[in-house]
Amino acid sequence: MTRSENNVPANPLENPEQKAVIDGIINENLHLNGATMVILNQVQEKIGYISPPVQAYIAQKLGVPISKVHGVVSFYSFFTTTPRGKHTIKFCLGTACYVGGIEQIIEKAKQLLNIEPGNTTPDGMITLEVCRCVGACSQAPVVVVDDNIHGRMQPNKFPKLIQEIQNQEAAH
């Protein structure tokens, strides 16, 4: 993700590469019925967030008011308006994970990274998120690191996960 010097995310529309990606997504799906959701889903996936200027741009291309696009972005929890960290750690808050003790793992994570769920570490490396059931209940409690599910997590096993991310980054 691009960040300017003062750590404010740059506008993806001013980055030719990212703008080309966004234009590609819009042009490919413009003809679809109900294109808004399809486009927003893909922009979120490829760019990582949907900032207000990008929302305005999509609204203009679709010929709908900005309020309509913003309404959709703010309604769904998967859409974010600010950049996420390079890695995302999600804590499943489904019933089985709750009964299985996910809260204690969240406490541990808060202690280790010194941030609350929903926030990103100052170096932009790790974002903590809570999410609703990922459907891996038979392995509860479940932590999802990027796309990988780690089941039967325990507070004393959790630091290893963060260590792995940090090692992986150090190796790069």
Binding site: N33, Y98, V99, G100, E107, C133, S138
Partner: protein, 594 residues
Amino acid sequence: MAFYRSTVLVSVDPVCVEKGAYELIDTLNDELIKQGLIDEVRILETTRLGDPQKLGPDIIVYPEGTHYTNLTYYDIPRLVEEHFIKGRILKQYAAKMQDAIDEELSAPKSKEVRVVLRNVGVIDPRNIEDYIANDGYQALGKVLTEMSPEDVIQEILDAKLRGRGGAGFPTGLKWRFARQAAGDIKYIICNADEGDPGAFMNRRVLEGDPHSVIEGMIIAAYAIGSRQGYIYCRAEYPIAVSTMNLAMKQARALGLLGKNILGTDFSFDLEMRMGAGAFVCGEETALMASIEGSRGEPRTRPPFPAQKGLWGKPTNINNVETYANVPPIILRGAEWYSSMGTEKSKGTKTFALAGDVKHTGLIEVPFGITLREIIFDIGGGIKNDKKFKAVQTGGPMGGCLPEHLLDLPVDYETLGQAGSIMGSGGMIVMDEGTCMVDIARFFLEFIQDESCGKCAPCRLGTHRLLEILEGICNGQGKEGDIEELQDLCEQIRKNSLCGLGQGAPNPVISTLEHFMDEYKAHIEEKRCPAKVCRNLIKYEIQDGPCTGCTVCARNCPVSAITGERKQTHVINQDICIKCGICYQVCQFEAIKVI
């Protein structure tokens, strides 16, 4: 298709891939060519087989069913020589029985009947030929060549198939309404937005047998006269989305989707649409709003989707499991299907068994089986020899049922009368260490967070319910709280716009009914009998059992535990946040909750 003497399933779960599953496949392929076995042994990629962290990369060799784990590519030549040439099991890599169990779906237990899950874990979901070899698309052929749309609807009506999404409306009737609705353009939707926490039956069907859902949808489209369908899948299920997309592509290539299906004049195609993390989109009118590209807010019914649905056109919407039931009904007949189940609920139902039960995972049972049979016979009873306390069915809008209701036969009506719902099929078992007030609070927190905010009873009512429950859990419960909860529940249930709000009070109503003594202990004695609610308990380290191993001190997130190595440790109660981590990590049961 060709016949092979052996099939090797290789797990290409992301973790296994990272650990080298594809290198394994390449080496295996080369080695089989080298040994001249390539025409006898086939390699299939599949989803996770066991726990990939512990066992991956792993493979299962059929027909023997041998599960080899922790393989690397340089083990392959020996494996091929021993297993495929000499016919001996390479014991070094064969999994121990307890490890080899698929955590989500083990072999059917004696009381199970698999209709919806018939192919899951058995066929290669990424190969349409495997589905076709297992009678796949035969029902579609029969429908298109031998049956009129009315015949199809009659067959589904006779089978007494009811919507598996939770409400249990007769599927055949729904189809008939959509067929009779005026208009040329009609839509079919598959609700794959399985949002209930604790439910993953649909995910496994989408990932394990995608074509059964597609076939069911094509048959439904033929019955109501639709040319376009949508699958709405939640964004939390990326593997299901990619599996379905591939399956649709393969079906299209064989002329099973698209123009002139199987050479008839019937045309139908499907599109995948993804949600973006909104629970309320599982409600049918909200789901349609989401496909249309709007905020997923429900609207009042009538008009029902069968009259005015997607983009104002007549629309039939069913869930994954309902569609997956359709092909077997057409092939084996309504009589066979309706021979299973109870008087009003026919056929089978999948459940996701989770929580404090020994064998968690997916099961499929005929309606009429008792909860006790499910939990104790199939699920193996409660973990760690603890006592059963409650079973929660139907997701966040369901209820908690206590021990004395365990002998109820499971069907739509009896669960409803007992104060819970069938829902989509999540079933969470709770042991004596669960606080029922805390569970009610947990569900209300979920519902309150997921309420779309359109109607006031749900938006404000669930907020107030949650406030009261939080107060009770925090030890600030007061006289009159229970009456206020009951009154609020009644108002929210009666006045909310959609199923989410109408069902929202269920966790509170059912726990109030069956576990009133726990509410009273919290309110009157400021005591949490299950020792869960943080403000009502404290942790202490006992002198005797504590060995001074320091594991609790090292794991405490707020550094509240102090003590020398090999000396009894002490918790500073002023700092302790009562997270319970020390209690979990202590190997010597030295920490006591009071």
